[in-house]
Amino acid sequence: MYGKKVKLRFLFLSLILIVLILTTYLVLKSLEDNVVYFISPSDIKELGEINYNKKYRVGGMVKKNSVSMSTDQVNFVITDFKNEIKVKFSGVIPNLFAEDKGVVAEGFLQDRNFLNALKILAKHDENYIPPEVKEALEEK
């Protein structure tokens, strides 16, 4: 027979293992559900399949003269200078949102040309362009 100490060790180790497996499972499961993909207007055109029940973040520049406002919503166009997408948004506009500036909008795609944005992300620095947008801009 094993001693009491060995048994205790074994119990302890298996407990750790179980907790680790459980944690990994929970984390992976939750990640799968809650990850938001970042895409550019061009990506949307090229995307094989679009999940219309999943949130996306679309980044690019706010097209010049595309912003129009009404009481309950703002409409504008995000462009990466190759492709563009129309965005509808109702809610709070961040301070640095302006035409011809970088923007990231998060929401559900209605079709390949239309995003129902739930959130427009704020930035702190007037010179700051999200790295994704920068890359998209450099690519063109």
């Binding site: 809650n34 993909y37 970042f38 009481t71 709070v92 035409e99 992300l121």
Partner: protein
């Protein structure tokens, strides 16, 4: 002139750093006596670093634009207060502040550790000095705050207006005190390992430093949160943003360490675990700085920055981790296991630690996963708040329940499990109250009920425990505050309301129960910005509230910031934030009702006060 003084004292500090390393190493090898020459060099180094910090401060106050850091981050039209806070509001200055605090702590350590083993003290100073050396090299070679520009510009570029805020002015120094405090924890653990000194005396000393870092980190996080709440106008106080997470991770680690040191102090148990926690705390703090500074994190808080600096921090970090690992595996021969039973305070604390580690793991993975995924597949993702909420909130239920039982268990073995009628009654009362609160919501009634009742139960028990003389006052206050914090956060998230609308001047619009009216707007010139003050009326049935939210238009750099108008009551905050869009007549208006905000701030503050009380007791 001043620039030169600052620069040279940094270089001299670098030389003293080498001297201290040699002195301490020699002394440790030969006689293990902490002699006066070590203290003298430490003092000289501290003096030199003070001088260079003060020079930078003066450069900012005098708007000396021949200094590159001042030119980039200051402006003559800025109020004095923000000129001063501008010193650490930028990369170079904030590193100098790190360095200043590092060397300040080494001096404090010297004075406060006189009762401890000399060889341990020498080694702690040695390891701490290694960290200082790393920072000195980093500052001098990659981010020197005393770089000159020739010719001297007449005007600076200005400080990002969003940072011109009292809470954010003191947020970095306080947070850094927390981060840097963990550096002493790190070096002292390494020293204790080498000297085989992981005993009660060491635990007692470690606890003080843990408390100091924990208090500052708590207050630092609180200040950042308050700033985000009213300056960003998002109407929330925590967004699970990577930059926020990075400050939360060492906090989990410190909280675990805080509980774990008392086991070591009272029962000489869990030595290895304490050391692991102590080492990880500092490594997490450092990685946090690395991630924030390198620009790797895709955060909304990220400011424009320089990736090359990140590489240096990464190398430095790797060296530290490497040293820590070598020492840990070479000298870790402790593991005398004193016996304890399943039902004991030790077990409760171990469970607390497991939960803390779980929370830490969740936050760590959620923060780092996007970076790895991008490196491997070039796919860009972000992990949203639902991930954190899903994985953390359900586990709060057992965590809170154990928190309400744990503190009253005895060490080694609990004699008998007392079950008092009153506690059972309270338990059912908590469930009843929670059900009454939760049933207003159609979804997840059971879940909300369980969550709220566990928090309310902890609250009741903590109230009863206030009279319990056998518990420490610091623990009573902190646990009570924690329960209030959790209750307030839950109620806040359940009962928050918000509406937003775009209106032209004179227009009004009814949204759900609220009638929003854009009455007026006025313009005035203040200090270094133009202020646009709007008058917004919010009418709910017979109640009418007038708000005066503000937009600030800064010239240098050209930026707009929104200042929310917040009406704070004891039980709820009402706030209106506005923003405007160029070339339109519309004002983007958001009205929010946020219950229990004041309770969240106060209870988080009381949490830190609890820590402070514990610190005072430990220093007596």
């Amino acid at each position: 002139m001043l620039n030169l003084i600052g620069n040279y004292s940094l270089i001299l500090a670098l030389i003293t750093s080498f001297i201290i390393l040699i002195l301490t190493f020699k002394n440790f090898k030969s006689k293990s006596i902490l002699n006066l020459s070590i203290f003298a060099t430490i003092s000289v180094q501290f003096f030199l670093i003070c001088v260079s910090f003060i020079t930078l401060l003066l450069a900012f106050i005098n708007s000396d634009f021949s200094n590159l850091a001042v030119y980039n981050n200051s402006h003559t039209a800025k109020p004095l207060f923000y000129k001063i806070s501008g010193t650490w509001g930028n990369h170079e200055g904030s590193l100098l502040l790190w360095l200043f605090v590092l060397s300040l702590f080494i001096v404090i350590f010297f004075f406060k550790s006189k009762k401890l083993l000399d060889s341990f003290r020498i080694l702690t100073i040695f390891f701490q000095q290694l960290i200082i050396l790393g920072f000195l090299l980093f500052i001098i070679f990659t981010s020197n705050p005393f770089q000159l520009i020739i010719p001297t510009p007449i005007e600076g570029l200005g400080l990002n207006p969003i940072l011109q805020d009292p809470a954010l002015a003191i947020h970095p120094p306080i947070l850094y005190l927390g981060y840097v405090g963990s550096s002493i924890i790190f070096s002292s653990s390494l020293a204790a390992l080498v000297c085989n000194y992981t005993n009660k005396d060491w635990a007692n000393d470690l606890k003080k430093w843990t408390l100091i870092s924990w208090i500052f980190l708590t207050i630092g996080i609180l200040l950042g949160s308050i700033w985000a709440y009213y300056e960003l106008g998002w109407g929330g106080f925590w967004f699970w943003d990577p930059v926020e997470n990075v400050s939360l991770m060492p906090w989990f680690c410190l909280s675990a360490l805080l509980h774990c040191t008392s086991v070591l102090e009272k029962r000489s148990n869990l030595q290895s675990w304490t050391v692991i926690l102590a080492l990880s705390t500092f490594i997490l703090s450092m990685s946090g700085t690395f991630l924030v500074r390198s620009g790797i994190l895709n955060s909304v808080h990220t400011f424009a920055n320089d990736p090359e600096r990140g590489i240096f921090v990464l190398i430095f970090l790797t060296v530290l981790i490497f040293i820590a690992l070598i020492i840990y595996f070479k000298f870790n021969n402790i593991e005398k296991f004193s016996k304890s039973y399943l039902l004991s305070k030790e077990t409760a604390i171990v469970i607390n630690n497991w939960f803390m580690m779980y929370f830490l793991a969740v936050v760590l993975i959620g923060t780092v996963y996007p970076i790895f995924l991008e490196a491997i597949t070039t796919e860009k993702i972000s992990v949203g708040p639902p991930y954190f909420n899903q994985l953390i909130i359900p586990f709060l239920i057992p965590f809170l329940l154990i928190m309400s039982i744990g503190p009253k268990l005895d060490w080694i073995k609990n004699k008998k499990l007392e079950i008092k009628i009153i506690k059972i009654v309270l338990f059912f009362i908590s469930i009843l109250i929670s059900y009454l609160i939760a049933k207003n919501f159609n979804t997840q009634v059971l879940y909300s009920t369980l969550l709220i009742s566990s928090a309310i139960y902890l609250f009741f028990i903590s109230i009863i425990d206030l009279k319990n003389k056998s518990l420490k006052i610091s623990q009573k206050i902190s646990h009570l505050s924690f329960s209030i914090l959790i209750i307030s956060i839950i109620l806040n998230s359940l009962f928050s309301e918000e509406v937003s609308v775009n209106l032209k001047k004179g227009e009004e619009k009814k949204l759900s129960n609220y009638l929003l009216k854009f009455e007026n707007i006025s313009r005035s010139q203040i200090d270094n910005f133009t202020s646009l003050k709007a008058e917004i009326h919010v009418i709910q049935s017979d109640q009418k509230l007038k708000f005066f939210p503000e937009l600030r238009l800064y010239k240098v750099p050209e930026t707009i910031t929104s200042e929310a108008d917040i009406k704070t009551n004891l039980f709820s905050d009402n706030l209106v934030v506005v923003n405007y869009l160029k070339n339109t007549d519309y004002l983007n208006i958001r009205y929010q009702k946020k219950p229990f905000m004041l309770f969240i701030w106060l209870s988080a503050f009381m949490l830190a006060v609890g820590g402070f009380l514990g610190l005072r007791k430990n220093f007596k």
